[in-house]
């Protein structure tokens, strides 16, 4: 009885991970990184447990300051934040580029971790059937 339940749970886990890997393969073409800023009077809203980002954005209290889109084929789209005088906002830009690097690094590691976990779960099921 316990074995069946365990086997079902592992199967569910493996199937879910396999779907994730599949969706990743479909979505891998683009990596997007968005950096927003918000006025100080919205800070308490953000600290609350469940801030409604859509409402905040619709009310104009969330400003997209930098955007990067990296395509699988290497094409990259950048939106660089500038100040009122037209100069680049170096503070926002610096942290945005750090985040882009972090996103690319994380994506690679995450795919490997999920792939390994799915392989491990599928391996367990395979053995169980033998």
């Amino acid at each position: 009885m316990a074995e069946v339940t365990l086997q079902e749970a592992v199967k569910k886990f493996a199937n879910d991970l396999a779907k994730r890997v599949q969706s990743f393969v479909n979505d891998v073409s683009v990596l997007e990184v968005r950096t927003f800023t918000t006025p100080h009077n919205q800070v308490k809203v953000f600290i609350s447990e469940r801030p409604d980002m859509t409402v905040i954005a619709n009310e104009g209290n969330l400003m997209l300051r930098a955007y990067t889109q990296v395509s699988f084929d290497g094409d990259t789209t950048l939106c660089v934040p500038v100040q009122e005088d037209g100069s680049v906002d170096k503070g926002v830009w610096e942290v945005h580029t750090l985040t882009v690097q972090q996103a690319m690094d994380n994506r690679a590691k995450m795919l490997k971790a999920v792939g390994d976990a799915a392989t491990s779960a599928l391996g367990a099921l395979q053995k169980a059937k033998e």
């Binding site: 365990l6 994730r20 800023t37 942290v95 985040t99 972090q102």
Partner: protein, 257 residues
Amino acid sequence: MAPSTSRFTLSGIALPEGEDPLGLWTLPEGSGVSFSAEASPVEPPTWHIELSSSAEEARQVLDAQTRALALGERDLVQAKDALKELGTTEAVSFATDDPLAAQKAALLETLQKGQEPVAYGVEPQAEAEQEEIYRQWLAFMEQTRELLSHYARIKTTSGETLIGITEVSWGGDFKTEWPADLPSASMQQHVQAVHLALGSRIALMRVFSVVGTGAAGLAVKATMPGAQILLLPATWKFVRDVLQELRKSWPQIQSLI
């Protein structure tokens, strides 16, 4: 050193015993009660990093937590290697100074019991413990799966001040919100916090892989058809116990957490 006012909290998932297997994050009280495999979190997994208003202390505690993550990853590799060693078909002997001797012996004992044709007279206490480990493993597997069903939210605060919020889809798209005119040093703190949170999420996935792969090796040793699936809970217990044991030898960085 005075007690730190910094806290690292993981909410939105219910890990077994209410504990992070890698010992990096505190789970809110009560989050480990439910072992229901069907339980789903109300909120997305949220890593909340509350930093001291002292910039120096915040830097120290973030560096300490970063070191702790690296140590946790190292320990996981050690657990994997120990399982590999136990999974060989050759006889295993433990050095007297092996810090994991007790955990290895316990796992081998479980393996030997599983090989006996009929298990008579299993003590009720032992049976209850096995049942508990079994439920813990199911819960861990379910919560690991849940980690991938939602985006990760990482929130860094200092007192009542928001430093940054980042949401990361499982595929890696990032969305970060910052208060306007935030100092560069604070932004760096949040970037480091995001690194910690995402590294921890990946480490939890690796715990699953180590358990699954380790159970496969043990099944070969046990020469039992279908043993791998049955050995998953016992292997989970081994990995959990090994991580706990190895954490005892960490430098005093835990006092900062």
